[in-house]
Amino acid sequence: MAFTPPTESYTGKVCALTIGLGDKAITFGGENVLPFHAFEGSIPNKPVIAFEIQDIPPDDWPEQVRKPYKDVANDPISWAKYCQDTLKAKAIALRLIGTHPDGENRSPEDAAKTVKDVLSAINIPLIILGSNHAEKDASVLISAAEAAKDKNCVIGKAQEANYKTIVAAAMAHNHKLIAMSELDINLSKQLNILIIQMGLERERIIIDPMCSALGYGLEYTYSVMERIRLAALTQNDTTMQPPMLGDVGMYVWKVKETQASETDIPNWGSVEERGITWEAVTATALLLAGADLLIMRHPKAVVAVEKVIEELV
């Protein structure tokens, strides 16, 4: 019996989205096939990995992932430059965690200054993230979006509770927007519809279906991503066609497996390699499910995942 390759064609296409300016701008999305299925369609752009930094020293990051940044992480400007110049980052994700009301409770003005400082130090695209406090993020991201006016950044995350102000800020200052919902394809679709109804084009949205770490609900994120991508491609559902984000580092580097020492749990092996592997495996699984943009922390995990992306395209 002769073998005929069972290729499939799709009616829909993922939106291509460009962030940053000039020759350092990057584009992701744009594919009209399932992840890495170049054998049956077109994949014009590779997935992109952004290095995560934050506005205050990363005291809450575990030792293993603080170590690579120990000389630079006291200051977001030197941290950003280190990622761009030494680690050859293609993009940076600045998390304004210091604005969280339970933490340092920094003001929106402080956040705006940090954004300005970081932007003046780098020429690669910047993703600006709040502290994931819905109420505070609304005010912080308005100031941050204004500080980054016309730099074609990504701001987020807009959620059901705060999307109106954040969408307005993205529209007013020409940014892209991350729309986050909690592990449910219907909630994700609903939020996108609300955002599009406000007047932000769907070509400016990035879907964050909410990340989870390997062993801590990864299968939920994985399947929600697969379903969103299938809806975009096979049902040509235009509201599900924005590219997807995997905010990997933040979720991975708080689970026990990335922190417990080998002395405590000998059967788990080296904590350094375990943590890096945890982040890289989580990231690779989400790429296979459809993520186009990843936010990661450990430089060695990024190197390994980029190597595999090269092999997959």
Binding site: M1, A2, F3, P5, P6, E8, F36, H37, A38, F39, D60, P101, D102, N132, L183, S212, L214, G215, Y216, G217, L218, E219, Y220, Y222, S223, E226, R227, L230, K254, V255, E257, N267, W268, G269, S270, V271, E273, R274, I276, T277, W278, A280, V281, T284, A285, L288, A289, K300, A304, V305, K307, V308, E311, L312, V313
Partner: protein, 446 residues
Amino acid sequence: MALTGVEIFKLLPKTNCKKCGFPTCLAFAMKLAQRQASIDLCPDVSEEAKQKLGEASAPPVRPITFGVGDKSIKMGEETVLFRHDKRFVNPCAFALEIKDTLSEKDIRDRIEQVLNSEMERVGQKLRVDAVALMNDSHDTSRFEILAKTIFQNAPDIPVIICSENPSSAETAVKLFADRKPILYGANLENAEAFANIAKTYKTILGVKGNNLDELSSLTEKVKSLGVQDIVIDSGARKAKDILRDNTFIRRAAIKKNFKPLGYPIITFAQREYSLVEALIGTIGIAKYSSIIVFSSIEKWKNLALFTLRQNIYTDPQVPMQVEQKIYKIGEPTTTSPLLITTNFSLTYFIVSGEIENSKVPSYLAVIDSEGLSVLTAWAAGKFTAAKIAQFIKDTEVEKIINHRELIIPGYVAILSGAIEDKLEGWKVIVGPREANGLPAFLRSKL
């Protein structure tokens, strides 16, 4: 493609004799189409019809058991391309390669690593399942020494005997004849000789093509020589090619019922860098490999890949649950806070993660809600005042803490009065609605 009820009906005697137990041949045909009855129930059906039906009703990916006894591995039987459609059935097996060019000490070391690879995670025992013997020396006597060492030191571990040389292969296979090993290495040149060895020693045959077309004709060929149990390798080694070929194989088997590729897939993931190897393994786990061969099995790598395999092969229809009990987070003392939530694994992971973030050592009582999250469990009557009160009494938590305060999720604030009525001497405190409010909440109580 599976036959429809009407197509099956045409093959039946159409006598409506009822001997099968169904009122009409058509009713029986419908049951056959749904795979709820067996053709053997019909005493009058022709042999030809039986054969046609047998072929059509065979599962799209052939079920095969690799190895024997407690450590045997089930493969195949898959029915879908995406795990949200239906559970992936048989988790892929991990094998460690052992080359016959190694010293005897190194061989023994590697066997030890496999024997000691077991770990427990969320109640499941996970381990490296098999070893792959590699005839890198191309020498028959060295391969025999390797096979003997493994046979003596790890007799019950399923083995994959990898060689393209029939005499090397047969020498090793002989030892494992009653252990249902995989003989891997049948190709265009040696297919006949390998099919004969596989038949003689009742092994599973691993067939390698240089592409899917060649692989399809090879499996047809060895099948015509009488080998039924086959695992297949398209020759893909690069990530991109593994993903493409595995996708084509699974699609051809399931959507086209293309029998020549309806077998479990073996993937060789060996790489110079262990971390990159882990990521190639990630592709195999997510995308349809039934066996993945690795060149190293460090504990950190095993833990990550075992966990991924568990995640991908979880039944998406059944919520993952954690055990009902009082969990310690940090090192709680008799005065530490006591919180309660439900046993949906995601709920547990998020709540315990946020308690950890708070750095406030605590007790977390997790009640069996049949895997439902807090609000759903409350709505379904699985997270009620009576159940919570009973659980607190049953666990005898009163013996490990000296206060009587129970923190409940903000979404079920409505339960606080009823719980206090049923738990004498206790005070119920309403916590935040979302888990991310826990760090601030717990710290404010210090």
